[in-house]
Symmetry: C2
């Protein structure tokens, strides 16, 4: 059994990107972050993304807007960044305050700078297998983990548990696309699926993106399955300083006993999303500069 | 066993649309067709669409361009129709000559008038379950056939054979969406799938969109399956005046013996696509007029 080390794989991607970016002598890629309000998780995510950008040689800019910012003011900020030819990537950190529609906001970002891959046009391109689009960072990270772990996908049965717009569906579309990693037979399950264990037991590769702690247990998988656990759930744990521990959607102990490969939580898919964001930014830069 | 009568279902949709359109007293919906060259199948398809439009009370306009038309001239014609506020829907009949890229052409049509549902933005909206988009006519017709035949989809296992951009993938996304018809567990199979019969035998609903005559046989399905056959294949048949007969991707005789529902070819999915095009046109008209 092999534990897929998301930290190590993300680190090699960051090293590759650093070498790549050092070759851009005239200009460096620029990513702009917009953060609305002071949500502690958002503060921490954006800081992490900025730090990684800095390591790679990507310049980052941070635009802070107050929690009560109007939609118009937020969109004006996005428009300014859309028009700024020095900015290659724009990321509006979710969640946004309730008075601002997230889909509308993500669609305000011009598709060429939508390094988050949330713009409807980029989702359409993913479905059409048009490589000029940006793939959202979590599903892109899942595919990268599978590819770099040399897990064969062609003709194998991938079961995705979860049908969300940002993980389940794009991951399914990526795994069924023509090419590698891909060419898989793909089943998408969700809350309405009947007799879920009978389906997850068919999986050669299981992608769990349900958002329920320890949901997938050892009796639900077959021997030799490769497991990608996308869940990040907090479980109360008084032995921890902060009062909780992070667990995935997969019960690690029982599933690991049968798996050929498994991602841990934390340290699996999580670190990959930041690496994929950086990869998208470098791609946006190259597309804009025709490098 | 119930044969799903696509002609009859399409006819009831046309009757409903006719009643609906008769209520538009000030203006009528307008659909514009662009046909390039004289491909006999295209001539016949466009004529059929125009006839159906006329029956419903939708005005149709036909723009004929020569086979050797430049991309620029074709796009100029599309732009004129995009800008014409009296035109609600625009359909560029495929196939296009080899020197013109189809995806680029379909994306030239403004999404609000893309009644064919081929624009990348509308495909993205389908994936995002945004009902403001247009769904391509064949997958929309499949869902309508299932819904109007009262075939339950919630929690049932839909197996789609074929992963094309225009049928397999959108049909899969529609069947897994939140809502009805939908909420199904969905498996997408294709040419790289291993042991296809073991998967098709799990299907409560089988959607066959492979493009190979009589490919799905009785031994590949379980008792009680509902079968939607999207294939239209020509088989040489000297007993026919024109030298061929049309068959689906499903071997009708052997599969019908086990099926609860099955679409015939011709007379199944085929007639639905024209009806769905008309429905999209009426929707485009209503969205433009805010009726």
């Amino acid at each position: 059994m092999q534990i897929i080390d998301g930290n190590a794989i993300a680190e090699s991607i960051i090293t590759e990107l650093t070498a790549h970016v050092s070759g851009f002598t005239k200009q460096k890629p620029v990513v702009a972050f917009i953060r609305v309000g002071e949500d502690p998780a958002s503060v921490s995510y954006v800081r992490k993304k900025q730090k990684t950008a800095e390591r790679i040689g990507i310049e980052s800019r941070l635009h802070l807007l107050p929690e009560d910012v109007s939609k118009e003011a937020l969109f004006e900020q996005i428009d300014v960044l859309n028009a700024d030819t020095n900015v290659n990537g724009i990321l509006v950190q979710a969640p946004l305050p309730a008075h601002i529609d997230e889909t509308e906001t993500f669609n305000r970002v011009t598709p060429e700078k939508d390094v988050d891959g949330f713009n409807t046009l980029n989702i359409g391109k993913l479905c059409q297998e048009d490589p000029s689009g940006f793939v959202a960072c979590t599903p892109a990270g899942i595919v990268e983990l599978i590819g770099r772990s040399n897990i064969e996908t062609e003709g194998r049965h991938v079961v995705v548990v979860g049908r969300s717009q940002i993980v389940g569906k794009p991951a399914a579309l990526l795994m069924m696309r023509k090419g590698l990693p891909g060419n898989a037979t793909v089943t998408v399950c969700h809350s309405r699926t009947k007799d879920l264990p009978s389906i997850t037991r068919k999986a050669d590769i299981l992608i769990a993106a349900i958002g329920r702690a320890n949901f997938v247990t050892g009796d639900m998988v077959k021997e030799g399955v490769a497991v990608i656990d996308v869940g990040i759930n907090r479980l109360a744990d008084s032995s921890k300083k902060n009062g909780y521990r992070l667990v995935g959607d997969v019960e690690f102990s029982s599933v690991a006993e049968k798996a050929s490969h498994i991602t841990p939580v934390p340290g699996g898919v999580g670190p990959m999303t930041v690496a994929m964001l950086m990869q998208n930014t470098v791609r946006a830069f190259q597309a804009a500069r025709h490098e």
